[in-house]
Symmetry: C2
Subunit: 258 residues, 2 copies
C-alpha cells in the first residue's frame, strides 16, 4: 500500500506571506502522494468589513448567512486557493484546486437548526475519493479549501480541520495515510503560554486523563476530536505542530495514534 | 476519434439567474465529453464598485491592476465558478472547476507593455491537455473561468473567448472538436439591431467581403478572430448564437468552418 500525506495549514500561515511562501516551497518538495487543505485566515473577515457585512460569531463559530457564504466562496475558493495553486505550479508541484463540490468530492448536509442557526454551514456526510485517487496516481496534488456542497446546488461552509480529518479517513483504507495539522505552536501544549510544554504523545488512553487534569486548552479540543475521528477510521497517525515537523524528523510535535 | 464540445457562455447568461439555471440543466444533459468556459458578467464590476476600486477600461478592455486581479480571482474562480460547479453536480454532471493554473492547464505570458500597460493580463502561450483528457475520459467535465497563470506563481486575467478558442484548438487533434460561443443574440448579425439578420455561414472566403461591406459589427471581430484561430487549428466548426443552438438542431445560429 502506498503512503499518503494529508496536510492542513491554518490561518496563521495563510496570513503571513513569507511563512506561506516557505511552506509552499517545502511542501512542493515533499515526495509521494499528498493533499493540502487550507484554512481561510483573516482575509474573509477583512473583506466582510470592507463590504460592511457583519461577522457574527457565536461560541467561537462564524454564522454563515448568504452574504457571508459569498465572501467565503470568493476568498477561500478564489483568492487563497488559486494563489496557492499558482505558487505550487511555480515549484513544479502539479496542483489542482478543489472545493467539495468539485468532482463531488465532499458532500455535506446543512447543519440542522437547533438552539442556533449556523446558516450555510455543512456537516460532512460523504467523501468520494475516486477522482482524487486518479489524480494522485498521476502525480497531481489536490488543494482543498474549506467549502463543501449538499449535492442540491448549495455550497456550504465547513471547518477546514474537519475536512482534513474526513479526507484522511476516506483514504485510510487505500493508502497508508498520515494526517498533519500545521499551525503556529509546537504541538498540543500543557501550558498554552509555554511553547516548550508540548505533549508529545496522545493516545485514547491518556486523552481523558489529560482532559480531566485540565492539561489541554479548550481551543484544542475540536482539533483533537477531529484527530481521534481520523485514528478511529484507520489513519495511522495524526501530527500536530509547526510545518517544520513535515520536513525535519527532529522537529518537536504532538503525535496522536491508537 | 471521439467528439468534444467546447462551450463558452457569456456574461449575459451569468448575470441572469433563470437563464443560467436553464443553461446548466440543459448543459448537464448533453451527452459525451464537454468543457464549459464562463465569462464574468457584471459581478466583478459591482464588487469593485462596492470596494471603491476604480474600473479602468481602455479601448473596451479592463486594465487589471493587483486589486482588480484580486477581485477577478475572487469572483470568477470563486463565486461564479464554484456556484456553477455545485449546480452542475445537482444535475449529476460531475464537474471540476479550473483556472489555467489548476493542473497547469493554461500557461500565459503577461502582456508586454507597449502603448498601453494592461497590467495582469495574460496572453495564452501553452495549453496542457493531459490532465483534462484524463478527466474527460472518466466522464468528468472541466469548467473554466477566465484566469491563467505564468508558471512563475502569477495569476493573469485572460479573455474567456480566447481561452475557449485555445482549449478547443489544443484538443482538435485528439477529439473531433466543436466550439460554441453562446451569447444573447441569434448569431453574427448583418444588422446589429435585427436579431433575424443572422449570417448563417462564415468561411475564410466570405469573411473579408463581409468586413469590407461593413456587414459585421466591430464588437464581433475579436470573437470571429478567435473562431478562425480555432478553425486554423483543426477545430471542425465554430457555432455562435443563443444556447438553444446546443440543444435544438433547428435553432438559427452562425456556423464558421473552413
Amino acid at each position: 500500500m502506498k503512503s499518503l500525506k494529508v496536510i492542513k495549514i491554518g490561518g496563521n500561515i495563510i496570513d503571513d506571506q513569507d511563512a506561506l511562501a516557505t511552506f509552499i516551497k517545502n511542501f512542493s518538495a515533499l515526495k509521494g502522494p499528498k493533499i493540502l487543505i487550507h484554512g481561510g485566515g483573516k482575509v474573509a473577515s477583512q473583506l466582510a468589513e470592507r463590504l460592511h457585512i457583519k461577522v457574527t460569531m457565536v461560541e467561537g463559530r462564524r454564522i454563515t448567512d448568504a452574504a457571508t457564504l459569498d465572501i467565503i466562496t470568493m476568498v477561500y475558493a478564489g483568492k487563497i486557493n488559486k494563489n496557492i495553486v499558482a505558487k505550487l505550479q511555480s515549484h513544479s508541484c502539479n496542483a489542482i484546486g478543489f472545493s467539495g463540490a468539485d468532482g463531488n468530492t465532499i458532500e455535506a448536509v446543512k447543519r440542522p437548526v437547533q438552539k442556533l442557526d449556523f446558516g450555510y454551514v455543512g456537516d460532512v456526510c460523504k467523501v468520494n475519493i475516486q477522482s482524487l485517487e486518479m489524480l494522485l496516481n498521476n502525480d497531481i496534488t489536490p488543494v482543498f479549501c474549506a467549502i463543501t456542497h449538499d449535492k442540491n446546488g448549495q455550497l456550504l461552509n465547513t471547518n477546514a480541520d474537519t475536512i482534513a480529518s474526513e479526507l484522511a479517513s476516506a483514504f485510510a483504507n487505500v493508502y497508508k495515510t498520515k494526517l498533519y495539522y500545521c499551525f503556529d505552536k509546537n504541538g498540543v501544549l500543557k501550558d498554552v503560554n509555554d511553547n516548550n510544554s508540548v505533549i508529545q504523545q496522545i493516545t485514547k488512553e491518556n486523552f481523558q486523563s489529560l482532559i480531566d487534569d485540565q492539561s489541554i486548552a479548550d481551543g484544542m479540543l475540536p482539533k483533537l476530536s477531529n484527530s481521534f475521528n481520523a485514528i478511529k477510521n484507520n489513519v495511522l497517525e495524526v501530527c500536530i505542530g509547526k510545518p517544520a515537523m513535515l520536513f525535519d524528523s527532529k522537529a518537536i510535535h504532538t503525535k496522536i495514534h491508537k
